[in-house]
Symmetry: C2
Subunit: 920 residues, 2 copies
């Protein structure tokens, strides 16, 4: 028995008979990767708290390194019982604590016995270098691996190799493209050679002869081993206590503190053949390879399908952003080039146009000259021109092209990684209920027994009645959050209005000329800070709300959490933007009769040439700020700062080397890494960004560029985090990105409508069109500005609304102008909205209908024309299956030929056949 | 060998040793079901023309019966060479014909040899009762059945039985519903008992012991046998001629004239245990069971999956129509009840309102009183009220509920019929190219060889270049058809306008008062006739266009044909309706300046209270007419008429019995039935009806009722046709209704937009709302009519446009009114569109946007909330799979236990394992 074990572990634990064996360079050679015997590999590690004498620890406390200071202190606290003081009752408490500890130990013992019964091999290490933490190392022997692989229907490579025959014609082109993209490929095995694909087949012990078992110790790679042990852990239960306790409950109750599979090795390992982790660290997780493709196959091999799919998706999204960025920049350049030929802004800036505008507010503001709006008018043109309309059509098509592309990419990966037949539906049925759910059900049973002790308890489920309070809380909180968002928008509006009024009254002319920009920018920055804070708050709220609902399975929990988080974060990020786009400047009244909020503050107006400019500022600052601060500051800056502080400290402490740095065992090192939470925050960040890129793209064509720049960094940043800073996640199986796809496609649909409204209502595109084709005397834009301005007779100011300084401009003003379509003071119904107003409104609405339906039709057309499964994949799947069947038959024939011809006889006995002739 | 054959055929060919054996009642007992030996069943029949002495035929010519007169004559013509005359060169021609016949015979011989090589057994009958027709009867023996079943991965029932455990709680409710619906169930086996389901598994000869082979001759039912022979036929090729000729080519070239599997028996068979065909005829295809559910399982068992799915779909659609009908009738009743309280129509009918209206046309027409429009105003209210708006929201939701329900039903059937894992993608790859395609490819190869004789010919495909002419023809024809439809619409408009003008000038007052109704109705009836004729023309055009494209496979051919036919038929049926809904009465000009088409005909106006009434007439007549004429006249009337004529004739010919009626053999009887074409016309009819039900439902709430009545008939009608009048179709495998689902869901989406526009633009709903909330002095509808009427000063009539009889009403008219929002004659810009016009237009457009987006959101929500796969099916599939695996393991154990323990040893030899301990 031990012989084959040695064989199995030979390459994984090469010479680890002694744990601290050093290799040639004097570096320790992966200690802790194997059991004490140096043979059996550690596939999984559970940790738990152990009570220990605390004295041995003290000296090393100050030499805390590698960012595990906090955790160390926590374990110390546990060790001493209380941090300090409160000596009264401490003996009693200690006894209680001891008893509790004892109970935990008993449960652990039982659980471990059960694990052994399942065939796992265990080894304990309670005297590790980390005081107070016990390690339970788990090894899955060959039989267990085989059994579980069969049970999980894991697809393993067979001996058969499938080489896709490349189809004529395109070979040359393909070769050319390959040569071209060579420098973009990462320097890993999979991109260097076109390995033929091993045909995979669900592993079965009875069909072992089909599989290539020559390299038996590497047949199941480290990822798969981790997965298998994890599945065994999930199935194992403690039965002794009054109710079954599953592994999730054990973790939740703190009986075990953490559970993780081991990383493959160190990222700075200097072995001649680098481990996968090191390869990934060098070729994937480094900023210097930002321009390269990701080694997505290796990522999947190391982290599993789910994380592989995430990075594949992120990669595709980033690639697709390149197209959007190029077009976006072109659109922006078009705006820059044409700004000097734009007739409306030329008219505004024209000094000969001596138009006196009405005051922007009652009393405090004075009359002003239209040419003062020259700057903002020119700036507006950059984002508000014909090209932007085309660009938002383009982006809608881009979005559906992206979705289609992803579907196809996903199918390709499904084929390449053999995920296609993995059935999630069934998986979810097998899913173990969550610990919370089990507890809740137990409570319910207890209650029921109290009420009707004689009635037998059937299978008890949580129904909607049990969840009713949670749903009510959910609805109430959602409404609350909605109003919080509204309140924040309002608060910022008030800030803007008051500051603007204050600045406008100031006497410094430079301050006054830049009033708008200053006010808008500061307001947006305040808004940004609020958004960032609320983002964290809302994340917590979403978790709390989901826990209240007590979903049954992990899948359900995740889905509900995602939806809640998405709604809240979306609300948070986009409500100010929606306000600027659609509410602001729409209900302002007219000079002398401005609308007031709460009787105090005037409703805001937009700049003279539409709100698009301000929407653009709002969008760019929110988006850039969120990305810069959340990504760069939170994700890069703070860890860097921590490291700096740590280095500074350790230098000050002693000149000697950090005692923990080198000779920690593998599982101890991994213990100091952050545990892997979930992919959801990463996805969420990207989805919100996708919202910024698509939803208001009509007003901010540079959004894709900023998103692209961010994502190029983001990929490497995430990679670094996964490789170097997190414990290795248990590889989750998945065949698609799940609910995120639905959210994405929902966002794409909403984006079409939102863009239609932005172009129609926020930009001046429609009024310009209406003027040019409906009212312009010569079919050009000349006279547009005059057309959009209504007249106001200054004698019609109501008491206390006329400006304080009527001679501010140096002359008597009789009639001033304001931007709106209203009837002239000399008409029968002065200041009523005019016919043109309604005509323009109808044109705006008609544009929305046409835009929405045409673009949706085009998207649907793209969706319909592009097949979801690439043709070549269909063919390959088909060919591979055919080859598989042939291979099977061949193997079966080999097998039956080597056997005496008994089996068919037996077969014939069973079916009551009457000697049918076997003519074929 | 012959012994087991006898066994195999024992129940199918009970005592048919002699073909004309009579049973107890003196009726022949299924002669022709078996070969001459009375043992082997005829699974498939091919027919071909044989040259025969023609003399024997003559006498029977006049006794043609059962509608095969034409076919008989055709075979006679073939027999005599030419119908008559043209004796010159006849000898030469005859020789050529003989040679051709000889070639055909040789090809047939080769093909038959190949069939025999494939294992099929053949028998010829060239001396049947039908002169000139030879029959090739095909029997598939057991080995062939098994081999092909394995190849086709046919799922066959295993010994294992799965009994779904019913989940608590709902049992009582379920039982109650079952009791309630008992009288609605058809009287067939499947609905009487809840048979547990046999677990099915793809048939494999190696795993025969898993299947229940006790009743071996019925293991493969007649449907499956037909399918299997058909698949063998498709694969078999003639190789001797210069190029391979597949079976489709043989059929296309007339080497075989037809191919069909046999029906199970006669519908009036009087055997004690009725055959499936008779059961279906009595329980399904009879009008008396119109209120019952369909025995859908039996239908599928007899006709195969595809036809089963069609009838299941039709059944569900009809069931869903019940809800829509009930609500539709309620909405109509609401209109009827509220008509007396409708203020606008009360105002029109009020005699005190003495409003003089402007003439409806130039010169010829006179002034008229508004109260003359009283009748149409009241009628309009029936369809144009608040309830209709709600009804069209309801119908949009109904449509998405229907789609969801169908998805679920389909999943249920997929589970019940074990279709779930049948993979169409792969199927399409295996599909044989069509004969046309093969010919075209051959031509291409020949051309290429001519050009470059030395270049080797690789696999040649038809590329888009070869198809370019076809695509151009397609585009041109489509445009042509589009213009034809437009022209027809225009022609009918002109008919209406001229007739109306003519009638309006008539002096008979009753004719004049009913002018509108008369004109509209006659025009619609003419339109209907044109539509019916064009429907047939377009069907032919679609086939022609598709054949031009030379699609590669049958699947592709079918898809392209369906899309083309759908577009053309949709255009044909709906273009006049779209015209009435959205074009008519929109651009009419104003009195004195009416718009003219082609300088001659005035653009049509609608009735005073909106076009909805006329849309309703147009819709109802088109829909009812199409259904009545196409279904009842074409599908019931004409066959009935044929039968009557036939009976009349045969009675006149002789008092003796029809020599063909009783003692025809089974395959001869089936030969006289019409060949089965495809399901597409049936689907198409229903889809166009679905269009009528959903697209303009806002204007015609009774559409669902009429559709329901039609469909109740339609189901039985189709059933009768399939059972009694068509040859048995080769059972096609399918797991969904394919492209029809996409068309349906596309129509549902379009329906939302169309209904939004109908309510906004065709009905008076929005103007009423705008008046009530924007202009009404007291918030009621009083004064609405006055509000919608503009003033016209009769002195402003341009020369030659003023009415000929200005004193027609008995008094001098100075100012008349017309329905439009225009400025008064005394304003600065008389007769310009007024502000109200634009406001109403904006409101209409806003309504479209809101309606479309809200309803779409609701539909998507329904789609998202209802899971596509019913929970219970997911559970059952899972449980069944689990049970299946257990059953497999059990069977395997049984097998291995009965074997000496050699297999594992052999297994172990193959994998190079080093004696691992088998600890688990």
């Amino acid at each position: 028995m031990s012989q084959d074990r040695k064989y199995a572990a030979v390459s994984l634990c090469p010479k680890s008979q002694d744990i601290l064996t050093l290799d040639a360079g004097g570096h320790p050679y992966q200690p802790g990767v194997c059991f004490q015997d140096g043979i059996r590999r550690v596939d999984y590690v559970l940790t738990y708290n152990v009570k220990k004498s605390c004295r041995a620890l003290r000296p090393s406390l100050s030499i805390t390194a590698n960012g595990f200071f906090r955790r160390l202190r926590r374990s110390l606290q546990c060790c001493t019982g209380q941090p300090s003081g409160a000596n009264r009752d401490s003996a009693v408490e200690k006894a209680a604590l001891d008893q509790q500890e004892e109970e935990k130990r008993l449960l652990r013992d039982e659980f471990e016995d059960n694990l052994r019964e399942m065939g796992l091999e265990l080894e304990k290490d309670e005297h590790s270098k980390i005081p107070g933490v016990g390690f339970l190392k788990i090894h899955a022997p060959w039989d267990v691996l085989c059994r579980e692989a069969e049970f999980l229907k894991l697809k393993m490579p067979t001996k058969e190799v499938y080489q896709a025959t490349s189809r004529s014609k395109m070979v040359k082109l393909k070769g050319f493209i390959e040569d071209l993209t060579k420098p973009l490929l990462p320097d890993v095995e999979e991109s260097r050679t076109h390995n033929p694909k091993h045909v995979c087949y669900p592993f079965s012990r009875e069909k072992q002869h089909l599989f290539d078992l020559s390299d038996r110790e590497n047949f199941f790679d480290t990822k798969t081993r981790g997965l298998i042990v994890f599945e065994v852990l999930k199935r194992t239960k403690c039965m002794s206590s009054e109710d079954d306790v599953g592994f999730p409950s054990l973790l939740a109750k703190g009986i075990y503190t953490s559970a993780y599979p081991l990383h493959d090795g160190d990222v700075d390992d200097e072995a001649p053949t680098p481990n996968d982790r090191k390869i990934l660290y060098n070729e994937w997780a480094s900023y210097s390879s930002f321009y390269k493709f990701q080694p997505i196959g290796l990522v999947r091999k190391y982290f599993g399908d789910k994380i592989g799919l995430y990075f594949a998706w992120l990669g595709l999204y980033t690639q697709m952003l390149i197209f959007a960025s190029v077009v976006g920049v072109l659109v922006f350049l078009y705006g820059c080039i044409t700004v000097d030929h734009d007739i409306p802004s030329m008219e505004i800036c024209d000094k000969r146009n001596n138009i006196t505008m009405c005051p922007m507010c009652d009393r405090a503001c004075g009359y002003w000259k239209l040419k003062m709006a020259c700057g903002t008018a020119r700036a507006s043109h950059l984002f508000d021109n014909t090209a932007t309309v085309l660009f938002s059509v383009f982006m809608a098509l881009w979005a559906s092209a992206f979705m289609e592309n992803w579907k196809r990419k996903q199918m390709r990966l499904n084929y390449k990684w053999d995920l296609a037949t993995f059935e999630e539906e069934e998986e979810s049925l097998k899913d173990h209920p969550r610990a919370d759910y089990e507890n809740k059900v137990k409570e319910k049973i207890l209650k029921r027994i109290e009420k009707k002790p004689h009635k037998e308890t059937k299978t008890v489920k949580l129904t909607w009645r049990d969840r009713c309070p949670a749903y009510i809380t959910f609805t109430v909180s959602m409404l609350l959050m909605f109003f919080v968002s509204l309140a924040i928008v309002l608060a910022i509006v008030i800030y803007r209005v008051t500051t603007q009024a204050a600045l406008q009254m100031s006497t410094v002319s430079t301050a006054r000329s830049n009033v708008r920009l200053t006010v808008v920018s500061t307001a947006v920055i305040i808004n940004l800070v609020v958004i960032l804070i609320l983002d964290e708050v809302y994340a917590k709220v979403a978790v709390w709300l989901t826990q209240l609902e007590v979903p049954k399975t992990d899948t359900s929990y995740e889905q509900r959490l995602i939806i809640k988080t998405f709604i809240l974060k979306f609300l948070n990020s986009f409500s100010p933007i929606f306000y600027v786009a659609f509410m602001r400047g729409k209900l302002i009244g007219r000079p002398g009769k401005y609308l007031y909020v709460l009787g105090l503050y005037r409703m805001e107006e937009c700049a003279h040439t539409g709100c698009l400019m301000e929407l653009c500022i709002q969008l760019s600052i929110t988006m850039l700020g969120k990305q810069l601060i959340q990504n760069n500051l939170f994700e890069i800056g703070i860890p860097k700062l921590k490291k700096l502080i740590k280095r500074f400290k350790s230098k000050r402490e002693a000149g000697q080397q950090d005692p923990f740095s080198g000779n920690l065992r593998r599982y101890e090192k991994d213990h100091f890494l952050e545990p892997f939470g979930s992919l959801n925050p990463e996805y969420m960040e990207m989805i919100i960004q996708y919202g910024f890129v698509t939803l208001f793209v009509a007003s901010f064509p540079l959004a894709p560029v900023f998103a692209l720049l961010n994502n190029v960094l983001e990929i490497r940043l995430d990679a670094k985090k996964f490789i170097a800073e997190l414990r290795r996640p248990v590889p989750a199986r998945a065949k698609d990105i799940g609910i995120w796809y639905n959210i994405l496609s929902g966002l794409s649909k909403v984006a079409i409508v939102v863009n239609a409204f932005v172009i129609a209502f926020t930009s001046d595109f429609i009024p310009r069109l209406v003027y040019q084709y409906g009212y312009s005397p010569d079919g050009t834009m000349h006279g547009f500005i005059n057309h959009t301005l209504s007249y106001f007779n200054v004698t019609h100011f109501e008491p206390n609304t006329d400006p304080l300084q009527p001679f501010h401009l140096g002359y008597q003003v009789n009639v001033c102008r304001f931007k709106d379509y209203r009837l002239a003071p000399w008409s029968k119904t002065p200041y009523e909205v005019s016919k043109i107003y309604w005509a323009v409104l109808a044109a705006r609405l008609a544009f929305v209908i046409i835009f929405q339906n045409v673009v949706m039709l085009m998207s649907d057309f793209v969706d319909w024309v592009v097949p979801d499964i690439p043709k070549e994949v269909t063919i390959r799947i088909y060919e591979e299956k055919k080859q598989m069947v042939e291979f099977f038959l061949k193997e079966e024939q080999c097998k039956t030929q080597s056997l005496p011809n008994i089996a068919p006889e037996g077969d014939r006995d069973q079916s009551n056949n009457q000697a049918y002739p076997q003519r074929l």
